[in-house]
Amino acid sequence: MSRVKTLQSLFKRYRRPGDIVFAWVFLVFSIFLLSQLFDQTTFQSRGKLAAQPRFWPAISLISMTGFAGFHLLGSALSDRIEGRWAEVWHWIKSVEYAGWFVAYAAAVPYAGYLPTTVIFAVLLTIRAGYRSGKMVGASVVCSIVIVVLFKTLLKVNLPAGQIYEALPDGLRQIMLTYF
């Protein structure tokens, strides 16, 4: 990697592997959205053009499709960078962690914020490749600190877990309110 020598080169961004795949997907996505313009927006008989509900979706989608077309053209005319499909596989692999996130969010209203956070932090730490007791312990401590900070102290708007209902009276109230 070279050093930046001019102001223009400072702002310049360079292509990375997989660019053309992204360019194709984005263009197809733009064209699909644009094709839905008449179905998904309305045009009212009264009112000026710029005040129409269709105006801004049309402006943005037409420009988006135009830019996406030129971006694809730019990618297609540039030298090929090796590693295109390995890169796409990398993107697909990240969906696993999106799944972890959604599963975590889905579990909280049932299993409670504190237990879910501790369990997910430990599982994710192990999934990320850490096996030492130090790292697993650190994940437990950090997750408890996060819960105490946000739920107990800042009283952030998060649901109480249904599982807490099964706890004995005194403890139940504390868990429902603070954890």
Partner: protein, 505 residues
């Protein structure tokens, strides 16, 4: 004068001071950890501040915004990895100084220069306030529409080499904010019959996905790494004395920071580069630049720290953000019922002064904190990157779910997280999407409210400010075409650099 005292009074509360303290210290730590950055932190904390008093929430997030660049200098100097993207130039001279055994000197100089830049920026903001209060009311719907349009154009053109990509992403942002029920005509737009899309795509959900979750996914899917910064020995206060020998460089660099910070899309990068070039051209030892020149370090750090205060000018006076962080700060203001724009200076000038004093206080808090805790920070930045990814993922949940306890929001955010990861891996910019959403919304509202007074398109530019803004738009476009032609004729060889993905490591 009375307003100044009212502003001071606003800060003189224990909860405000505590928020400022937490925000400033937190900002330094967040800035110092490569791979987190202020955007991630503000995105996560934004919903958490909903329950706080407006001024408390605002000062906390302002603290993070204003102090992260101080922290970002530490890994830039010690391990050649900028903590935040805008500290990239700091590593040019900071790291060679560390290699020469002058890590302590480099850090203390960076802190002092940052402090100088920060205070200079705020003083300019305070001095400019009466002028802003005078000019801001002259901005009506048409002026704000054109200013927002100029912002979009500048943001697209600032992404050289990826202008088409930046353009399509900015347009995607504008499109995203049109989804849902149209507020005026009550008609559905791109909801595809799904009720969850009727209320639109929430900006904070998108921000959390694109900045926080994408970063978590990015770190979790990349090989594990643990930055190894060596502790430094010596008093950190010595830098101020050395800075006094380079007052001129520090002041000019701060001046660049202030002027360029006001222009959307270009802020820190241009300011740093221009001050660096100025410092090199006027230096007695220009050959030392890039090999450990204190002047280069000062120029870079003073310039980037003067920017946050300056970037508040278009934000506070016109309600127009120039980059991602100010766009987030705009939503912070909205959430807390403070509407930036011309009326703010007329009706809430005490709050404006309160924010200025908060900026001054945060610079002092950060400076004092750094004098004593640099070595502690060198230990904190050693957090393994994948573990950091796990924690960002856990924290992102608080941000998204606390908004309205919606699993759908989490799913939308996760989709944007994957999208953000792809953009980061491809070295494509995320900022145009956010600015497209914010500025697109402003443009739609302002154009609609200007419509009844327009009989022909030319009426759009028949007022002095609208005409000037329109002329600037034409000038910017013409200059861009000129640069393209010059570049084409020069046939410059392609020299790849990783400046723009430096913040993701």
């Amino acid at each position: 004068m009375e307003n100044i005292f009212l502003g001071l009074e606003m800060l003189a509360r224990w909860d405000v001071m505590l928020a400022l303290f937490v925000g400033s210290i937190g900002g330094v730590i967040i800035g110092a950890i490569p791979g987190v950055g202020p955007a991630v932190a503000i995105a996560i904390l934004l919903p958490a501040t909903f329950s706080l008093d407006p001024i408390v929430g605002l000062t906390m997030l302002l603290g993070i915004y204003g102090s992260s660049m101080y922290g970002g200098a530490i890994p830039a100097i010690l391990i050649n990895t900028p903590g935040t993207a805008v500290n990239a130039l700091t590593s040019y001279d900071g790291y060679p100084m560390t290699e020469n055994g002058e890590g302590h000197r480099a850090l203390s100089l960076a802190y002092s220069a940052s402090f100088w830049g920060g205070i200079f920026g705020i003083l300019c903001l305070i001095l400019l306030s009466p002028v802003l209060a005078l000019i801001a009311p002259m901005f009506g719907s048409r002026e704000i529409f054109l200013a927002a349009m100029l912002g979009i154009i500048l943001v697209i053109l600032a992404h050289r080499g990826q202008i088409f990509a930046a353009g399509m992403l900015a347009m995607f942002g504008i499109f995203l904010q049109t989804i849902g029920l149209d507020a005026v005509t009550y008609t559905q737009r791109y909801t595809f019959g799904y009720s969850f899309l009727s209320s639109g795509v929430n900006l904070i959900v998108v921000v959390l996905g694109l900045f926080a979750l994408s970063q978590a996914f990015f770190l979790l899917t990349a090989p594990d790494n643990s930055p190894d910064a060596k502790p430094v020995k010596g008093r950190m206060s010595v830098g101020m004395r050395e800075l006094m020998k380079h007052k001129r460089v520090a002041t000019v660099a701060s001046g660049f920071g202030v002027i360029l910070g006001m222009i959307p899309g270009t802020g820190e990068f241009t300011a740093q580069f221009m001050s660096y070039t100025y410092a090199q051209k006027t230096s007695k030892d220009p050959e030392k630049f890039g090999k450990g020149s204190p002047e280069g370090l000062i120029a870079s750090e003073a310039a980037n720290n003067a920017v946050p205060a300056a970037a508040m000018i278009p934000l506070l006076a016109l309600g127009i953000p120039g980059e991602a962080l100010t766009a987030m700060m705009l939503s912070v203001f909205y959430v807390h019922n403070v509407i930036p724009g011309p009326q703010l200076f007329q009706n809430n000038i005490d709050l404006v002064y309160g924010l200025y004093f908060a900026l001054i206080a945060l610079n002092i808090i950060v400076m004092v904190f750094l004098l004593f805790s640099t070595n502690l920070l060198t230990k904190i930045i050693r957090v393994p990157t994948r573990f950091l990814g796990v924690m960002i993922l856990i924290l992102s949940f608080v941000g998204v779910y606390s908004l309205r306890n919606s699993l759908t929001d989490c799913m939308i955010s996760a989709v944007f997280g994957v999208f953000g990861l792809i953009l980061k891996r491809l070295n494509l910019p995320i900022v145009p999407i956010i600015l497209g959403m914010v500025l697109g919304g402003i443009m739609e509202v302002k154009l609609r409210s200007a419509m009844p007074r327009l009989n022909s398109p030319l009426d759009m530019i028949d007022r002095p400010i609208t005409f000037i803004l329109f002329a600037i738009i034409l000038l910017v476009l013409a200059l861009h075409v000129r640069t393209l032609i010059k570049e084409y004729r020069a046939h410059e060889p392609i020299e790849d650099h990783d400046m723009h993905d430096s913040q993701t490591r």
